[in-house]
């Protein structure tokens, strides 16, 4: 029995090869994704952390509360051979455009020392009048050793230094990475006299810890050993790695799903093609169990072989991907976890076995009489399973659509949002289960039309596509998943961009000149607002003081964002669209309608903002406006905000014909960027686009695998139909016609997967934007460009995937039709 099977397998080397290719591809994809995820996570650990310090005295949370005197005192402890204060202060490198480079500048300045914090990558250590820059800051600002650099210092001062070299920073414990290191002798003058920590070196064999601890009794100071600091760094890195891995899990899941489709589909085909063989075996007396066991055994063997190759290829591909996509100045750790290898094998063998299980049951159920039927491969048993699947799919789709419809209203609570998203996923799964039925429903009329109107190519190709809807569906499902994801995220992105554009455009007048921090996150200097107000031509100004803050309301507590603004400016400069109540901030706060719904608050309710280090600010809600996430959700009268917030101006809006005057006024202020509404929007979009393109790249990989799946299926079905092709050739079809038929069938299958994928993607994207942005369900921005590219891409994919199978079909020997197989 087994021998008969093995011989049969050997006789169909082509099919075996295709099945193996499918398994290898699927496993490769999953393993590569895991390796990239592991390596990305691991890159947070290890590289660039130090433990080469005996003791370190630190202030709380990197606050620079240590002084020169502290350093000197610690240096005097018996047994201490060296004490180095780590100076940290504001510093920002000015880029080629005359504005500072973006980044976290508050802790970016420090003094050079030999403790091992710095690893020179180019040039040399800085002397007086020089500075070394971190590699990323240097490349961002376009500076190389020998160039003159402008550096912004605390208090708005500026210095010019020569770039002596560039460095990679090695962190000790948890600390932020500096960008600029001045010569030790000059650092004090430039940056002031505040240290975040003092690093101590002790003579070998001495115990200085106790003495040091006695000296550092000031509140907040901690003394840690090198090992403790290393452990702290490791913990931090581990948790960063964990969260990275979690966020990459989505990609792994997609990889798994797509791989499963490709493998299951191919293996099912392999078995289906041999139905007649099985029927013959059954006819000569093999029991169902024997047939089933043989198929399973074969699956396990193929799965194991494919998984082995796939794991190796996946590891190689993953490492290659890491190497290719990491910027040169970032440390990379290459990690291959046993889990990745295990999952690779589990997918290869598991999915093959599951696919084989279904196929083997079908094979075993083949009645011996099927051996005598001529066209044993098409149709065949398994209709009951199809019906169960269709019913399950319909139920899921219905439940999903109903739930989304119920939750399509505005103002969803957090739970409702999660439910709505889940309903979207359920509906999507429903579509996947329904895919064979949908393929039949959608493609049959197409085939009928093509049969009536089109020539033989159209007729044969469309009939070929509907011939086995289950296979067409399975082939296109991998495409469907990849494409739907791309389209869903594109929809979310498009909506986000157009909404934030719309929100900013309604709220901010087009002719306002906008002043923002060039660094991105930092607040503007305290003088900027006054200078703007005093600039000739400016008649009115308003200033956002934007911050995240804790909030307490009747329903509980949470976090929100608030902007403290001048009441006159809120309605006199900005143009918020008041939906309900009034915009008079003197009487209370104004809140976005979405946020109000999320928190479950309304007009007249009281909320309290918990600013750090200040008593809660209690306010009544007097108005509701249209706004979205990313914009301030609450607006508060600046006079009621704590003093600390009042001076933290984040954006200044200046009205009047004063753009040129403001440009001139802030020409020599590298920290202030002068722009306008569209400039602000463009910046936001660029940032978001970058994020989206990463998404596209990842899901695009899924599409590539799906394309291999299509090639595989086509090639297998061409092999399977070689007799038919032979007949076709015998009665007068040219090679070209055969090629065109296969190509068109491929385009039909890909087109079906593509259209379904795009529709599902748009709908799921609509749900996502509804859930995440609180926008009405059907007011989503359709990503037309992505849709058009996807459609064109699917036709291209159809043509490309058909290339090899079509050529193979065209080569079919005419006599195949007459020869027995």
């Amino acid at each position: 029995m087994l021998r008969a099977m093995l011989r049969d397998l050997r006789a169909h080397k082509g099919r075996i090869a295709m099945t193996l290719v499918a398994i290898v591809l699927g496993v490769t994809f999953v393993v590569a994704t895991l390796v990239i995820s592991d390596s990305t996570a691991a890159s947070f650990t290890g590289a660039g952390t130090r433990s080469d310090v005996d003791l370190a005295v630190r202030g709380p949370e990197e606050q620079p509360i240590l002084t020169r005197a502290d350093v000197d005192r610690l240096a005097g402890v018996p047994g201490v051979t060296g004490a180095t204060g780590v100076l940290v202060a504001r510093a920002a490198v000015v880029g080629t455009d005359g504005k500072i480079i973006p980044g976290r500048h508050a802790t970016a300045g420090t003094g050079w020392d030999d403790t091992g914090r710095f690893a020179l990558t180019e040039g040399r250590a800085p002397a007086r009048g020089e500075a070394a820059l971190s590699r990323s800051a240097a490349s961002e600002a376009g500076l190389t050793p020998g160039d003159e650099a402008r550096i912004l210092l605390p208090g708005g001062r500026e210095t010019r230094v020569v770039v002596a070299g560039t460095f990679d920073y090695r962190t000790l414990g948890v600390e932020s990475v500096p960008e600029v290191a001045f010569a030790a002798s000059a650092a004090g003058e430039l940056l002031g006299d505040s240290y975040t920590r003092v690093e101590l070196a002790a003579a070998p064999g001495t115990q200085v810890s106790a003495a040091v601890r006695q000296l550092t009794t000031a509140p907040g100071l901690t003394v840690s050993t090198g090992e403790e600091l290393a452990a702290e760094a490791r913990d931090e890195a581990d948790s960063a790695a964990r969260s990275t891995r979690e966020s990459l899990l989505a990609f792994v899941a997609v990889a798994l799903l797509v791989a499963m489709f490709v493998i299951a589909n191919t293996f099912t085909m392999l078995v289906t093609q041999r139905v007649r063989q099985f029927a013959l075996l059954r006819a000569v007396g093999a029991s169902r169990r024997q047939v089933r066991r043989t198929v399973l055994l074969e699956a396990a063997a193929l799965g194991f072989a494919g998984a082995t190759v796939g794991v190796v290829a996946g590891v190689a591909l993953g490492l290659l991907g890491m190497w290719a996509f990491t910027p040169a100045d970032e440390p990379v750790t290459y990690a291959v976890s046993p889990l990745a290898v295990g999952i690779g094998y589990a997918v290869g063998i598991g999915v093959t076995a599951v696919a084989a299980w279904g196929a083997s049951r079908r094979a075993a159920a083949v009645p011996p009489i099927a051996a005598l039927r001529l066209d044993a491969t098409s149709g065949g048993p398994g209709h009951r399973g199809g019906r169960v699947r269709a019913v399950a799919g319909a139920v899921l789709l219905l439940v999903g659509v109903l739930a989304v419809a119920l939750l399509s209203g505005e103002g969803l609570s957090t739970t409702e949002r999660v439910l709505c998203l889940a309903a979207g996923v359920v509906g999507w799964l429903g579509v996947l289960l329904l895919a064979p039925l949908l393929a039949a429903v959608v493609l049959r009329p197409v085939a009928r039309l093509a049969g009536r109107r089109g020539g033989p190519v159209a007729r044969l190709a469309t009939r070929g596509a509907v011939r086995d809807p289950r296979r067409t569906a399975a082939t296109s499902s991998a495409l469907l998943v990849g494409l739907a994801l791309v389209c869903a995220f594109a929809t979310l992105g498009e909506t986000m961009v157009s909404m934030s554009g719309a929100a900013v455009r309604t709220t901010v007048p087009a002719d306002a000149t906008i002043l923002r921090s060039a660094s991105g996150d930092d607040p503007l200097g305290a003088d900027v607002l006054d200078r703007a107000r005093a600039t000739p031509g400016v008649d009115r100004v308003a200033a956002d003081r934007y911050t995240l803050v804790g909030i307490t309301h009747a329903g509980g507590t949470g976090r929100t964002s608030v902007s403290a603004i001048e009441p006159a400016g809120f309605t006199g400069v900005l143009t918020p669209r008041i939906v309900e109540g009034s915009g008079d901030l003197r009487r209370g706060v104004v809140v976005g309608t979405n946020e109000a719904a999320m928190l479950g608050v309304g007009l007249g309710d009281e909320v309290a903002f918990e600013f750090p280090g200040a008593p809660p600010v209690r306010q009544e809600i007097v108005g509701m406006i249209d706004t979205i996430e990313g914009q301030p959700l609450f607006y508060l009268d600046v006079d009621r905000a704590p003093a600390a917030l009042r001076d933290r101006v984040t954006t200044v809006y200046a009205m009047g014909d004063a753009r040129a005057a403001l440009d001139a006024a802030f020409l020599h202020r590298p920290d202030v960027a002068v722009t306008d509404r569209e400039g602000v929007l463009a910046e936001g979009i660029a940032e978001f686009q970058l994020l989206l393109s990463v998404m596209y790249a990842m899901f695009g990989a899924a599409i590539v695998i799906a394309v291999f799946g299509v090639i595989n299926t086509l090639a297998l079905s061409v092999i399977e139909r070689s007799r038919e092709v032979g007949v076709l050739r015998a009665v007068g079809a040219t090679r070209r016609l055969v090629r065109r038929t296969v190509r068109l069938e491929s385009i039909v299958i890909c087109g079906y997967g593509g259209v379904l994928g795009i529709v599902v993607g748009l709908l799921f994207g609509a749900v996502m934007q509804h859930v995440m942005l609180g926008n009405p369900l059907f007011e989503f921005g359709a990503p037309m460009l992505v849709v058009v590219i996807s459609l064109a891409g699917m036709v291209l994919v159809g043509v490309l995937s058909a290339m090899w199978p079509a050529r193979r079909a065209a080569k079919t020997d005419v006599l195949t039709a007459v020869r027995a197989d």
Binding site: L374, D375, S378, G379, G451, G455, P456, R459, L460, R463, G464, R467, R723, E724, V727, L728, R729, A730, V731, G732, A733, T734, R735, L737, V814, L815, A817, V818
Partner: protein, 246 residues
């Protein structure tokens, strides 16, 4: 008419494989198939009947020798020319698996015309459909037809293009006697009524009896010929042949 061959072969030789597995399937066969005649080819299994037919029909290339269909020499033709020739001037009925499963009976019948981009000649099509007796089955798929019906569809397809020659390789091999008789009647009718030339390979003396002339092959050579055959006379010759072969 008798002297005008629709197809002929000269010194036709076909060798499969080489070395140890070398098989001479046909060795220097000279044969003519007369126009408007029904010729049967008989011979023991492995004697080269199918090979002869494939070579003459342009399905396979001979190792040496010449094959003419009408005046056209097949050896000079490109693949596309051969394809067009098969489509327009030759009809086939194989022993089994003649039809494309996704096309209906009618679509299968008209496939060669379809491939040529031509419309079927209404009158001829009607006559053929009536002759094969499948008028009420035209929109069925092959899977919904019996074996005999499938063979008749294949026969109709072979006739629809008004071909110079119809080749049939054991067309009744998988049919019961009733269906066989129907099919053979059909081939006979196509010769008598439509003036077709038919070449048929068969194992059954009763089937050969429908022909005007029977050729006997053995070991890749033409060894005998019989005109106006009856089943008994064919059987006689066959027995004789087998005795010689042993």
């Amino acid at each position: 008419m008798q002297n005008q061959p629709a197809a002929r072969a000269r010194a036709l030789t076909k060798v499969y494989g080489d070395g140890d597995s070398r098989v001479v399937a046909l060795s220097s066969v000279d044969v003519e198939f007369y126009s408007g005649r029904f010729t049967a080819i008989m011979g023991p299994s492995g004697s080269g009947k199918s090979t002869l037919m494939h070579c003459v029909a342009g399905l396979d290339a001979p190792t040496s020798g010449e094959v003419f269909l009408g005046d056209a020499e097949l050896a000079d033709m490109t693949d596309n020319q051969l394809t067009a020739l098969r489509r327009d001037r030759v009809g086939f009925v194989f022993q089994a698996f003649n039809l494309l499963p996704t096309l209906t009976a009618w679509e299968n019948i008209t496939l060669p015309l379809d491939l040529a981009g031509r419309e079927p000649d209404r009158e001829l099509a009607d006559a053929i459909v009536d002759a094969v007796g499948l008028r009420d089955r035209l929109h069925h798929r092959p899977a919904q037809l019996s074996g005999g019906q499938q063979q008749r569809v294949a026969c109709a397809r072979a006739l629809i293009t008004n071909p110079d020659v119809v080749f049939a390789d054991e067309p009744t091999g998988a049919l019961d006697s009733r269906s066989s008789a129907d099919l053979l009647d059909l081939l006979r009718t196509s010769v008598d009524r439509f003036g077709r030339t038919v070449v048929m390979v068969t194992h059954e003396p009763a089937a050969a009896a429908y022909a005007d002339r029977v050729l006997f092959l053995a070991d890749g050579r033409l060894v005998d010929e019989l005109t106006a055959p009856t089943a008994d006379r064919v059987l006689d010759r066959m027995k004789h042949l087998e005795r010689v072969a042993v």
